[in-house]
């Protein structure tokens, strides 16, 4: 059973003075996320990522289409006890402290009274807020609020976690911690659906990614497949202070940094290039096929439709 099955979900907002003109925020979206998957929803700001998450959370209502979450219709109340949600740039009741807030959310999530406090303490420890548990949230930094946000999203041990830009506004250490947490969730067998525009995070964490732009899903693919695509080029790194004359003839793009040369050339010229290096008695450091990066895939998907025709996945 898929964890999330989105069936032509669509959202138009009515804009203009009379609220008559429809402005599409999400064009019909069809997407399936399997259980245990970490799925990255990529796209620039305003692409429709948050709208999709809000639709799935029941915070806004679809213009058309539907979705099934963990086998239930998305508006089925039973769904809510099995999912966790971290909104973008979360803000919480600032009259409460972290412990009170988590306790309140645990109550609303139906965590049994027996063991509730222990669960709250465990979560505070897990996100590194045990020492700040009694501090009012109005005194929290952005990073600390993000941690509270993560704690509240996984407090009730949900099967499926939705995270909207979980790394946004965090310092490198904070980002690392969130990445570790998502990896832990993956190892626990949870399904994670997170939106981001930080591609390195998606590349490090996701099984699959989807690229959305202007409310339209532009492509979906497994990260391993996308980054394994050979581009018909090889990268040769060797010790030299300039590019050998013979190598320049092969259409080589080379970069010299001190005593090291980094040269990229067509794959079919690989043997000839190695022969040149041997002849010149140049010491080879490495030779690797050039692979596509997630960034290239992302940029390719963001190009206008007419430029992407025949571009693949």
């Amino acid at each position: 059973m898929p964890a999330i099955e989105i069936l032509d979900l669509e959202k138009n907002y009515l804009v203009g003075f009379w609220h008559k003109r429809p402005k599409p925020a999400l064009r019909p979206l069809r997407l399936t996320i399997e259980e245990g998957e970490v799925f990255g929803f990529l796209g620039p700001n305003g692409a429709g990522k948050t709208t999709t998450l809000k639709l799935l959370m029941g915070l806004v209502f679809p213009t058309a289409g539907s979705a099934r979450i963990l086998g239930y219709a998305m508006d089925d109340p039973r769904v809510k006890s099995q999912i966790g949600f971290l909104p973008e740039q979360p803000y919480f009741y600032d009259h409460l402290n972290a412990r009170e807030l988590l306790n309140y959310y645990a109550q609303l999530s139906g965590v049994p009274a027996k063991g509730r406090s222990a669960r709250v303490e465990q979560m505070l420890g897990r996100v590194g807020l045990a020492d700040s548990a009694n501090l009012q949230l109005r005194k929290f930094s952005k990073g600390m609020l993000q941690r509270v946000g993560l704690a509240q999203a996984i407090l009730h041990d949900p099967k499926l976690v939705f995270l909207d830009e979980p790394m946004s506004g965090l310092d490198p250490m904070g980002r690392r911690e969130v990445r570790d947490l998502i990896q832990q969730l993956r190892s626990e067998g949870k399904t994670v659906f997170f939106s981001t525009h930080i591609l390195s995070d998606a590349e490090a964490l996701c099984n699959r990614v989807g690229v959305i732009h202007q409310g339209e899903l532009r492509g979906v693919g497994a990260v391993a497949d996308l980054t394994a695509q050979a581009k018909g080029k090889v990268e040769i790194i060797f010790y030299a202070q300039k590019v050998p004359a013979g190598l320049a003839e092969f259409g080589t793009e080379a970069k010299v940094s001190g005593d090291i040369v980094n040269a990229v050339l067509p794959e079919e010229r690989q043997d000839a290039a190695l022969e040149v290096l041997r002849r010149e008695h140049i010491k080879l450091i490495s030779l690797n096929p050039v692979r596509a990066s997630l960034e290239e895939y992302y940029i390719q998907k963001l190009r206008p439709t007419e430029n992407r025709m025949g571009a693949g996945v």
């Binding site: 907002y13 809000k54 959370m57 029941g58 915070l59 806004v60 209502f61 109340p77 039973r78 809510k80 006890s81 999912i83 966790g84 949600f85 909104p87 740039q89 979360p90 803000y91 919480f92 009741y93 009259h95 409460l96 309140y104 959310y105 109550q107 609303l108 999530s109 139906g110 946000g149 509240q152 009730h156 939705f162």
Partner: protein, 258 residues
Amino acid sequence: MNSRVAYIAFNTFREAVRDRVLYNLIAFALLLSGASILVGEISIDIERLVVVNLGLTAVSLFGVVIAIFIGIGLVSKEIDKKTLYTVLSRPVRRWEFIVGKFFGLTGTLVVNTFFMALGVLLALLYVAHKFETMDAWVLVALYFIVLQFLIVCALSLFFSTFSTPLMSAIFTFALFVIGSLSDDLRGFARITHGVGGWLATAIAYLVPNFSALNVISQVAHGDAIAGRLVLYNTAYALLYSAMAISGAVLIFQRRNLK
């Protein structure tokens, strides 16, 4: 009350009692009750009347200000600050959120009224030196004031579900003022004919009848309050609040939280 409604109500109550502005308003109300002693002392033979009149009016006015001040932000603030997102993404139904908010605000006002009423009763004891049987009617007047708060809370919450805090405050306060003059409005409707009369009658019955809930002048004069009025006013306030809350739920159920 279902447990989620109770948790939301308690959180709303806790939020209100941790707001310093609330204490300033209560302090003002108590100050006014205290001031009524001074005014009472320069009013020969009518000290009691002055204390009851001024004291209860202070309780009523400050309570309404508190109800509007807190009520107007109950939903809109949660949407603006996005605190609502993490609540509604849990097994909480939208109606539970609205009803919980209403009970939380009502609870806050009942507790506030208790402390403000204590101030009035102490002022009364100070000028009269003892309580008399007719002072029991002061408690009935206080009960009616709480019923007024119930309606004001429901109305401010209703407006809060679809308009900005400023507009909600204006709408609620306007209805409070018109409702306080509803007796005059009904009188005007009786002597007006045609479309104007029909319109005046409709408005008179649509706006909350705060006139019927205001017995301050009567109890200040020591007049008794009929048991039937207590019954009618209770039923009326509960029914009117229930209708306003139902309206709030209906609007909020359909609202996109952008």
